[in-house]
Amino acid sequence: MNWSLFFGELVSGLTLGSIYALIALGYTMVYGILKLLNFAHGDVYMIGAFVGFFILEWLGGPLSPVVTGWLAVAIMFAVAMLVCGGLGVGIERFAYRPLRDAPRIAPLISALGVSIFLQNSALLLWGPQFRDYNTFDLIGVKSYSIGNNFYISNVQILTISVSIGLTIVLALVVSRTRTGKAMRATSFDRDAAEMMGISIDRVISFTFFLGSALAAAGGVMFGLVFGQIFSLMGFTAGLKGFTAAVVGGIGSIPGAVLGGFLIGLTEAFATGYLPGGSVYANLYVFALLIVMFLIRPTGLLGSPVIQKV
């Protein structure tokens, strides 16, 4: 067996997976509370990547930043997360809130409209060309090896650890804080929560803020790991993020992370091992989604839904 290929795909699968996990978290939280599929989430991720890029440019560009490379990266993360959090709150306020009691199909179509709006606005303003993060010059990519075949770079370590760290923070927010308790209550029964004095609008806005900020972090990570971003990158990434959320069990936070890593690994190993994998990796991810739906529609960690009439 070719171990160097195996470990190579393993590391790239984990890296991809941690980005998908961050996107999936946003989907899963919004779905848990509103039962809404936020199609625009992938485009928020794309905008996060662009905000990171513009902050980098504002700091003097990747070749000669005015601050040290790692500080620049930290600022990029912080600003992108704040801006996209605000964007998420705005999208919810104007495109979804008026439709909260409308038939189910209406907010979905509205979400589709927001997605196409964001994507084409990016295309109009920033053009279709690739933008370069130049990670090599920014923080100096180093590669570490364990044994002969296992290689991992510092950017990949950064991505995986930041993703896991953010997930832990999120899990603590949801399980330990007052707001988190309100979120859980809202997700369990919106009307009852409102009667208990919870401000539903504020909880939902906060959820959108958290989800969109995480997606923006994912976008900046994508830029750092793969070096290049473009205005159409959100659509496919959004689809895979949702797939990850579904595979892990929608509404479950550990499930979203698990699903993200599973999708990332599937994609990486399909690229390396399956016939036609280098171009058809997404087809294999789709196959995984279908199989998942046939075997366990509620996902790996999801609980079965009992519909009340």
């Binding site: 779905y31 039962k35 809404l36 599929l37 705005g90 104007f94 495109a95 008026p98 439709l99 409308a102 038939p103 189910r104 199909i105 209406a106 907010p107 979905l108 179509i109 509205s110 589709l112 409209g113 927001v114 997605s115 196409i116 709006f117 994507q119 084409n120 606005s121 295309l123 109009l124 303003l125 659509f235 496919t236 689809l239 949702f242 797939t243 579904v246 016939p275 036609g276 280098s278 171009v279 058809y280 997404n282 087809l283 789709f286 989604l289 279908i290 739906f293 046939l294 529609p297 519909q307 009439v309």
Partner: protein
């Protein structure tokens, strides 16, 4: 048939027992007044639009069909311009496509976001069976039934997922299906990375990113459709037949069952409606229609290219169906005219300008009451623009140095009104953000504040239009406007413009 509570068990009461206390209320048991009167309220439309709608509904169905289709049939007699024909033809194909989607989304309420893949599948399958690219030349009389049956089968396969999945899950699976289709046709060219199929090895199925070219014209019993005019009438006849068929289906047992399924799948199932079979039927019907229109589209274009069957087309078709009203058959034709007609006008920036300002004016006067408010806004905006332009030409010469794109009499007039910086790049980008923010704030304020805020917002809109949006009228701008349209319509009228609003029982 109406069933009254009083009809049941009357006279079966044992003699001597006192009358039940709620005897007077018997007929009202289980009847929600509001729901019961929904039909009457719908019938009692008021105002000018109300009269139009009532008159429209009084016309018998063949008459309505003639009103919708007639102009299309007369259109070729009036004009002979080649380009207009092509627009008309594409509009008809889109209408055909939207009719199929209307069955899936409008009748049965299944959000199928992979619909465009069937359209592409039809074009590609016909191309594989009859083109110079593949080397086979099957007659259309044989090829069309094969295409229709195979797309219906593909629809059946995708529809199977709808057994276990509801709303959003179905949407994402179908969207992924579309994505998978696009990836497949982009790469299935028998190249180095492609699959090696069992028995046959590597095959060039779709021509990859370059597409499948030299598709044969439709060959019906030896009669070749070669000119746009012939395709135009072929599509028109197909559309008429399909509309007639859908009209009858809509009133039939199946059509009513579909509507029941849309309104409440669970209740429908309890009423012993075969929900799963109906879902599959809707998917198959939609897919077959899409496959058929795909065949026509492929033959018209004499090629099938992967970029044509993407999310952009999906949004266009959804905009048509939603604009026309979910579930409305005639509305789809009007929706196709509007959604496809507008971008055709948008192709030249001089026409696009007329359309842009025309729509703004129309929206202003339709949406604002009483009449003097839009007048104030209009006069205010014009004065505001001239004032700003005057100030700018005195202090910021670069701001008025640019020239309007496309020209025309309206364009030349606008050069004295709207700011046109010579180097627009960054300013126009910020103005675009500002416009979005201003438009969103507008939805929050009321009364005279809205009037006051509307003046700079309108000016900003024309500034952004002339400096940024007009650059890409047929590309990004078109999709931005369609996306905005979807969000706005969903927020203002969730049932679409010509759709009947739904009655929700809580």
């Amino acid at each position: 048939m109406t069933l009254r509570g009083g009809d049941l068990g009357e006279g079966n009461l044992p003699a001597g027992l006192p009358e039940p206390v709620d005897a007077a209320d018997r007929t009202r048991v289980g009847v929600d007044d509001w729901v019961a009167q929904a039909e009457e309220r719908r019938a009692a439309r008021t105002g000018f639009t109300g009269h139009v709608v009532t008159a429209w509904e009084r016309v018998p169905a063949p008459g309505r069909l003639a009103v919708l289709i007639g102009p299309f049939a007369i259109f070729p007699l009036i004009t002979n311009e080649g380009n207009l024909y092509r627009y008309g033809l594409i509009t008809l194909i889109y209408a055909l496509l939207a009719l199929g989607l209307n069955v899936v989304v409008g009748f049965a309420g299944l959000l199928d976001l992979g619909y465009v893949a069937f359209f592409g599948f039809g074009a590609y399958l016909y191309g594989i069976m009859a083109s110079g690219h593949s080397g086979h030349h099957l007659e259309a009389v044989i090829a069309i039934p094969i295409v229709v049956v195979s797309t219906a089968l593909l629809g059946l396969l995708l529809g199977l997922t709808s057994w276990r999945l509801l709303g959003d899950y179905l949407a994402i699976v179908t969207l992924f299906f579309l994505q998978a289709f696009v990836i497949f046709v982009n790469n299935a060219n028998g190249g180095i990375n492609d699959f090696s199929y069992p028995f046959v090895g590597k095959v060039d199925l779709t021509g990859g990113a370059n597409g499948l070219d030299q598709i044969d014209p439709l060959n019906l019993f030896g009669y070749h459709l070669t000119t746009t005019k012939q395709y135009y009438f072929f599509t028109l006849i197909s559309l008429t037949l399909l509309m007639t068929m859908l009209y009858f289906v809509n009133g039939s047992r199946t059509g009513r069952a579909w509507r029941a399924l849309r309104e409440d799948p669970l209740a429908a199932e309890v009423m012993s409606i075969p929900v799963n079979r109906l879902k599959l039927l809707a998917f198959m019907f939609g897919a077959a229609t899409a496959g058929f229109s795909g065949t026509i589209f492929g033959a018209v274009q004499s090629g099938a290219f992967p970029g044509d069957y993407d999310v952009g087309l999906l949004i266009t078709i959804y905009a048509i169906v939603i604009l026309g009203g979910l579930g409305s058959i005639g509305g789809v034709v009007i929706g196709a005219l509007v959604v496809n007609g507008a971008p055709e006008l948008l192709r030249s920036s001089a026409n696009a300008r007329f359309l842009f300002y025309g729509v703004l004016l129309l929206a202003l006067f339709v949406a604002m009451r009483p009449w003097y408010k839009p007048v104030v806004v209009l006069v205010g905006t014009i004065a505001f623009g001239f004032a700003l332009h005057g100030i700018a030409s005195a202090v910021w010469s670069r701001g008025t140095a640019g020239h309007i794109e496309g020209g025309g009499s309206l364009g030349r007039a606008l050069e004295h009104w709207v700011l046109l910086p010579s180097n627009t790049g960054r300013i126009a980008g910020w103005a675009y953000f500002a416009l979005i923010v201003a438009a969103l704030v507008l939805t929050l304020v009321r009364g005279w504040w809205r009037v006051v805020l509307l003046i700079p917002t309108l000016y900003l809109a024309s500034f952004v239009w002339e400096n940024k949006l007009v650059e890409q009228v047929s590309g990004a701008t078109r999709l931005i406007l369609l996306g905005t349209l979807l969000v706005v319509i969903m927020n203002v009228r969730p049932s679409g413009i010509f759709g009947t609003s739904r009655v929700e029982i809580v």
